[in-house]
Symmetry: C2
Subunit: 357 residues, 2 copies
């Protein structure tokens, strides 16, 4: 098969502009390899709230499910920050993750050699960092019940959530992480808070049990507070990290910042079957939206991963990766990664059109 | 009054050796100012487990409560990592925090000018960082019920915890944080995950409400994943941070690592009334225990804060702070903060005896 349907979810803020660039790049790269890509744009997040009053319309989920891969821009914005939960853009994102069953979120954290100076870390610490964070994405405190607001014994209002993991939820994400680690440096670090939380104690027990299926992977465990320190102190000690939903949210963002170029980092969310969800790790950046300043590379590279892992279109993906590299080597930079001696550009024209080889 | 009783909880690993140094320093500094300090050493953590089979003996809590201030070394070690929860050293720490009602944990994050090169961050980013992290310490997911292990609808084992906050728990920590911010740079950043968690939504609502009592403090809100990034990207944007127990655990450790010298950082845990608990933020470092390598400064400075805030003995505290400064200015360093051109020393002799002015 050489014809695929891709659902585009531009979302909010800079989402539409970076998705637009990525779409052009995907189309051109696909065409050059005889891969026909059909794009269908659907509403999600704040954009959906404004248009139809819910953050994830049924048609969007249905279209996403029926497609071969989903490319998401970004969602959210100050405007909706005080909305009730079911009317938050973020709820649309959580619902589509759950609806697609994409329980494994893979976030590569790579320091691009051309951009090592952009890292807030000293050069010798940042150089060569290459980590894969595997975050559990459809369980834990994000989805656990009971949750909500209540009243305690003193008659006071409370807010509460449940951090909960079952054996099968842990086992399946552990297996994904071991598989990933096996194809990379062969080292997996599982991050938890097993010195305090029962949910983490079960996590550690099951990850340890699954390790016996992967004798070639070296497993270690680390407490989350220590992991937050070690990522700053010496990120090169990590190869693959696996952790729960909330710790993964925090640590993967921290890890991405040490690269100094989160406008470059993509992520893939995958399940047992069905299409995967591919997105930049950055947010919707409403403050720079519509000004042709956003760095589209994270979304473009998310598209490349979609082609490679989602569709098996490796050659088209390779073209995109090469295009990004050449663009950087030629010294073109958006503002977030600009440094003295490079050429400042807006996002669409050069990256979108000129540089797909 | 010029006579006080101090409970020492040496604990595990390097705990005993750093507490021993701090005790000597406190004694000398107190004596020079006519402040008599009586020390009582009690068992806690792994040390208590080995001696009497529980991580927090009743006598320890009783002695701590009856004293004027508590100085803790560190607890925990690999040896007890697989113990059941009620037999973990960490449980002793959580129980004494709860038993003393010390709901507010204050962690200053300061880059010492003499040690700016020790930071993993670039000099211009690290220089001048001066943050106070105010962490809620006796609530949230650390203590929330229900917690434990169960069976779900599929008959699978689960592990679960409850993140829960009540209005009064949030209000009191918010007030402490606003007071602290008022005496510092006048800026408070509250960190939560209110785009996903109900417990955080109530947190944000109450912190915002309490802000009206402190019109002179500028309040902002930040999501925890973003805060984890911003601490690496530009820590100088922060003055005072307030957050819940688990986010505070992660972020304060991350923040302390950006200083490059966690062997220097102290913390104070205080409640509405009763003695406070003072401790270094570093752990028990079992790998270097007993080798006269540990940096005792964090514990010494914890002792100084105990004198200042716990006992009102400001002059004695000042002597200790000056002693630490002079020791650093004179170029003496333990291994963790050693750099070319300084003099490597073991911990006790110089810091403990020679340098209290
Ligand atoms: C927007 C938010 C709900 C989301 C999350 O917390 O998962 C985001 O931070 C992410 O990491 O993708
Ligand atoms: C040892 C552990 C229980 C403790 C915590 O998580 O509170 C420690 O990490 C700390 O921050 O004091």
């Amino acid at each position: 098969r050489s014809s695929y349907s891709i659902t585009l979810l531009p979302g909010d803020g800079i989402g539409p502009e970076v998705v637009d660039v990525a779409k052009n790049v995907l189309f051109v790269a696909g065409a050059k390899e005889g891969v026909e890509l059909r794009f269908q744009e659907m509403l999600m997040g704040g954009a959906a709230l404004e248009a139809v009053g819910v953050p994830l319309p049924d048609e969007t989920l249905a279209a996403a499910r029926a497609s071969d891969g989903i490319l998401l821009g970004a969602i959210g914005g100050y405007k909706w920050d005080t909305n009730e939960k079911h009317l938050k853009p973020e709820t649309g994102l959580l619902d589509i993750r759950a609806g697609l069953g994409v329980f494994a979120n893979l976030r590569p954290v790579t320091v691009f050699p051309q951009l090592v100076d952009a890292s807030p870390l000293k050069k010798d610490i940042a150089e060569g960092v290459d980590i894969m964070v595997v975050r559990e994405l459809t369980g834990g405190i994000y989805f656990g019940r009971p949750r909500g607001f209540g009243t305690n014994d003193n008659g006071e209002e409370t807010g509460f959530n449940t951090e909960i993991y079952s054996v099968s939820e842990i086992d399946r994400i552990a297996r994904v992480a071991f598989e990933v680690a096996r194809k990379r440096g062969g080292k997996l670090c599982s991050v938890d808070k097993a010195n305090v939380l029962e949910a983490s104690m079960l996590w550690r027990k099951r990850v340890t049990a699954i390790a016996s299926e992967f004798p070639d992977v070296e497993l270690s465990h680390m407490y989350v507070d220590n992991a937050a320190m070690q990522l700053v102190r010496n990120p090169k000690q990590f190869d693959t990290i696996v952790t729960n939903n909330i710790f993964g949210d925090i640590l993967s963002d921290e890890a991405s910042m040490i690269t100094g170029s989160i406008g470059m980092l993509s992520s893939a969310s995958v399940g047992e079957s069905g299409p995967g969800l591919f997105e930049p790790i950055h947010g919707s950046a409403p403050d720079i939206a519509g000004q042709d300043k956003a760095n589209p590379i994270a979304t473009i590279l998310s598209g490349a991963i979609l082609l490679k892992y989602g569709l098996g279109a490796e050659n088209a993906a390779k073209r995109i990766e090469t295009a990004v590299e050449q663009t950087l080597d030629n010294g073109f930079r958006t503002g977030d990664i600009y440094s003295h001696g490079t050429t400042l550009v807006g996002s669409p024209p050069r990256l979108g059109k000129t540089y797909v080889p």
